[in-house]
């Protein structure tokens, strides 16, 4: 087994008396995307702040690429990429100037900034000042900045928050490409679809505690309801039948219902990640 790119053991953080992260532990392997799923204020961004060296944990320990995060090692910082929730770009500079500047901080002599901008669909606006960009373009710019050093570990804090579906899909595609390249990705989001689509595993975090961590499929299997809902034409009306999938007779029963009339729709009743989150924590992902 390869060494975990991110290894977190029982770390805690408090803002004054308020304990924001209460001893969480997890690992992320190279090439893996771990989705941190939780509502606002659950402790997702604070965890990323600790792991990227912005704040020091109050307790526990964590390693990035085998190095303790408290060492504040520039060589390790050179191997991570961060996409912040706030759009902290240099607005008076162009996209290319922004990327070239950050590349120089990583010691990259001839950065291929245009290629990176092309990946996020901004190559044709590379020379325009970022202050002229739309919200979606700035978000894509944030993602491209996180990629500038071809990082081994990527921290993405709400990378598609508030974006239109087309831009979100484009950003998700680039995140998958980075994971495929071998980068370990820690992704925080409160978007269940994003977490489901992108994550190899998801961690549910609520009130500073990880309440569950597994693959989306396993979580759905473990906590979801396995049944099928079938709508059939019934003379001039419509009737609806639900068939449970966990009994030995499920196959026969399903066959019988389907054969009993003209089938209009068949839907699985698989639970969404949000359903499971609500089931486990008693609160929704938004708010």
């Amino acid at each position: 087994m390869t060494e975990a790119a991110i290894k977190v053991e029982d770390i805690t953080y408090a803002y004054g008396d308020l304990l924001a992260v209460k001893g969480i532990s997890f690992e992320v392997q190279p090439g893996e995307i771990l989705g941190f799923l939780g509502p606002n204020g659950a402790g997702k961004s604070t965890t990323i702040k600790m792991l990227t060296g912005q704040v020091a944990p109050k307790g526990g320990r964590a390693q990035i690429l085998g190095a303790d995060i408290t060492l504040d090692d520039p060589d390790i910082q050179a191997r991570i990429g961060v996409c912040f929730e706030e759009k902290n770009l240099y607005l008076a500079m162009s996209a290319k100037e922004n990327l070239d500047f950050f590349a120089s901080l990583y010691g990259i002599k001839d950065p291929d900034s245009l290629e990176i901008l092309r990946r996020v669909g901004l190559a044709d606006r590379a020379k325009d000042r970022v202050k002229t960009y739309s919200k979606g373009m700035r978000q894509r710019m944030m993602i491209s900045r996180a990629f500038i050093n071809k990082p081994d570990v990527l921290f993405l804090d709400e990378p598609t928050d508030g974006l239109d579906p087309v831009t979100s899909a484009s950003i998700r595609a680039t995140i998958k490409e980075e994971a495929a390249r071998g980068a370990a990705v820690l992704l925080t989001t409160h978007d269940m679809f994003e977490a489901d689509e992108l994550s190899d595993r998801v961690a549910f975090i609520n009130d500073g505690v990880i309440v569950a961590i597994d693959t989306p499929e396993n979580l759905k299997l473990k906590y979801g309801k396995r049944s099928v809902k079938i709508r059939l034409r019934n003379g001039s009306g419509v009737r609806e039948e639900t068939v449970a999938l966990d009994t030995p007779q499920s196959g026969e029963l399903l066959k019988e219902v389907v054969g009993s009339g003209e089938v209009l729709t068949i839907h699985t009743e698989e639970a969404t990640l949000e359903d499971i989150f609500i089931q486990m924590t008693g609160r929704g992902l938004v708010g």
């Binding site: 060589d75 991570i80 120089s104 010691g107």
Partner: protein, 397 residues
């Protein structure tokens, strides 16, 4: 991918980025250029000479012999010029500014010009300012000799210092005593004037000369606001956070800001000092050193202001709060006599003294080292305070 990047390369990258941002900040770029142009223009249109002569207007009748003695005495001494008026009304109007007093260039002819009545300017003549005058009444000589009470009127423009007005009153009293035959009840010392400190009599510097330190400080002041705005923007937009999750450390960021601020302030101060002719072959290194000290001092101020200000108005507020006290020593040189002794304790006092001494009086290292040392001590205090304030702000984000 692992790379090693030197601290110098990181600092250099941040400085370059700051310069790009400065070049894109239209407001501060405009203010900087406007400041340079205006400061240099103000300097060259300011009076370059000092008129140390006091012109005293006199109206008298029956005192020609005495007045001729006064005239001879005035001609023999520097700093006093007597002009005579035919009537007290003329004298009064000239002092009040209702009439203008002109003299031919050789001084042989005099003219009174009523500007309001449309009188033309006399040809080949120069205007003489008569701000104070004495009107002796008819029969003054005889009545005073007979120890009779008379009234002598001293006319004074509002702008004449009260000390000069008092001196004129004493002058009249002394004449009266002399004519009356009474001795003045004091013994005049062998040396008439005892000057405490450096005697600048006859060595007064012009307004233009006095403006040099003030202009240098003005340039630094504009750059404080410019750099503070940049720092504030980095903090408020949290771009500094993005920098600090890269291999760059807080120390690199602070070092870059120090270099950027000092470089920007010093280069512009140099442009102004060169344009106003402050440099000579002997003082250039002393001026460079002084401006380096000043630039670092103001960079420290900019760090504090930038960390405190949350937006343009906030930066302006804190900027003015810090900069006004720092400008006082320069204004004190421009308006001597207005400042109290406590200005010696202001951080920019030493710097302005060095600038004035070096550029106006040609002083050298031996004369100014103490002031320069005091300025350097202040730089250490202010710069460290700036570093501490900004570091705390950056780390608290």
């Amino acid at each position: 991918m692992s790379r090693t990047v030197s601290r110098a390369a990181i600092v250099s990258a941040i400085v370059k980025k700051d310069l790009v941002e400065f070049s894109r900040d239209t407001l501060y770029l405009f203010l900087s250029i406007l400041g340079l142009v205006l400061f240099i223009t103000f300097f060259w249109i300011a009076p370059s000479t000092v008129n140390e002569t006091l012109t005293l207007g006199v109206h008298q009748t029956g005192m020609n012999a005495l007045f001729d003695q006064f005239q001879e005495g005035a001609d023999a001494s520097e700093g006093l010029k007597l002009v005579q008026f035919a009537s007290e009304e003329e004298l009064k109007k000239v002092v009040a500014g209702d009439l203008e007093y002109w003299e031919s260039k050789d001084g042989a002819q005099t003219f009174l010009r009523d500007k309001a009545a449309g009188d033309e300017k006399p040809k080949d003549a120069k205007k003489v300012d008569v701000a104070i005058g004495i009107g002796f009444p008819a029969g003054f000589l005889e009545k005073t000799a007979a120890k009779e009470r008379t009234t002598v009127t001293v006319y004074s423009d509002a702008g004449v210092p009260s000390e000069i007005q008092g001196a004129m009153t004493s002058f009249v009293r002394e004449i009266a005593y002399t004519i009356a035959g009474d001795a003045i009840p004091v013994t005049e010392p062998a040396q008439e004037n005892i000057i405490l400190g450096t005697d600048r009599a006859g060595d007064q510097i012009s307004i233009r000369e006095k403006m040099r330190p003030m202009l240098a400080l003005f340039v630094l002041m504009v750059e404080v606001l410019s750099m503070a705005s940049l720092v504030s923007s980095e903090v408020m937009n949290r771009t500094v956070t993005a920098v600090l999750v890269s291999p760059a450390r807080a120390g690199d960021f602070l070092m870059a800001k120090t270099i950027y601020g000092t470089m920007l302030a010093m280069s512009q101060a140099m442009i102004v000092l060169i344009a106003i002719g402050a440099f000579t072959t002997t003082n250039w290194w002393l001026l460079l050193l002084t401006m380096l000290v000043g630039s670092v001092m103001f960079t420290g101020v900019a760090m504090i202001v930038g960390a405190a200000g949350k937006d343009f108005l906030g930066t302006l507020f804190y900027g003015v709060l810090f900069l006004v006290p720092l400008m006082i020593p320069a204004f004190a040189i421009l308006l001597p006599g207005t400042a109290s002794a406590w200005i010696r304790f202001l951080p920019t006092y030493g710097m302005t003294q060095v600038l004035t001494g070096v550029t106006a009086y040609g002083l050298g290292w031996a004369d100014v080292w103490q002031n320069l040392l005091a300025a350097t001590a202040w730089v250490v205090v202010i710069y460290l305070a700036g570093l501490f304030t900004l570091k705390r702000k950056v780390e608290s984000l």
